[in-house]
């Protein structure tokens, strides 16, 4: 199943609805990459609340999503990582690297507002 991507102002919100195969994860990456450019997005939220597994492939793909988005001027925040999933990720040795996380969608949006406001200030100073 394709992950629905909702456009909300200058943000894109991808809410994962069910377990994803590798192929579906790559599809999400490509869909987000296309839409970030198309809509001049400033922030991307990927909601992983329903995922009961985040293995090395999922983490690698989420990191790729954040890298691609950053190159196109958008910040990425992963929200909803379950405590058990976080535990297993740490045991496995996986980190999200530079990718930011937040507890839930609401906090993710607040964090994005924060980040993009800071960017705006920096732009204004130039």
């Amino acid at each position: 199943m394709r992950v629905p991507i909702l456009k909300q102002g200058k943000y894109l919100i991808a809410s994962i609805q069910s377990a994803l195969s590798d192929y579906e994860l790559l599809q999400l990456r490509d869909d987000l990459a296309a839409q970030v450019g198309k809509y001049r997005t400033r922030g991307v939220i990927v909601d992983v609340t329903v995922l009961d597994v985040m293995d090395s492939f999922a983490v690698r793909t989420l990191r790729a999503i954040a890298q691609i988005a950053r190159m196109r001027g958008a910040e990425t925040i992963i929200v909803g990582i379950q405590p058990e999933v976080a535990f297993a990720m740490v045991q496995l040795g996986l980190t999200l690297g530079q990718v930011e996380t937040a507890l839930d969608l609401e906090e993710g949006l607040a964090l994005l507002d924060d980040r993009t406001r800071q960017d705006g200030n920096r732009d204004a100073e130039r």
């Binding site: 195969s21 590798d22 009961d52 597994v53 090395s56 058990e84 535990f87 045991q91 496995l92 996986l94």
Partner: protein
Amino acid sequence: MTPKDEIHVPINSDSDIVTARQQGRTMALEAGFGDTDLTVISTAISEVARNIVEHALSGEIILRIEHNGSKAGLVITARDDGPGIPDIALAMQDGYSTGKGLGLGLPGTKRLMDEFDIVSDPEIGTTVIMKKWRN
């Protein structure tokens, strides 16, 4: 042993990885494993199943509940007839990958499970056998 105590999941493509880890989770849930263990087990299955798809093309995952006195455990076997692993000690090192992976699959899976064994031969393929005991 009832037939339901052992499940074979053929692994041929990336969607089989999802099937294998869901079957493993269901079996572990029925055997009374807790939430954290369920996630740990699914993650471990995902890693060894993906190794089959990525490095050996096809194989199978065998899931079995084992009883040892009052203890119950889930035994996961990942078997393929792929090219084998020439240097297992090297493959078990964090960060070693012959592909574009992070090289964390095998060493990370070993950390997730209570028991972990790997046998490999270029003529026969690779078999990973691992166990998680119920707390």
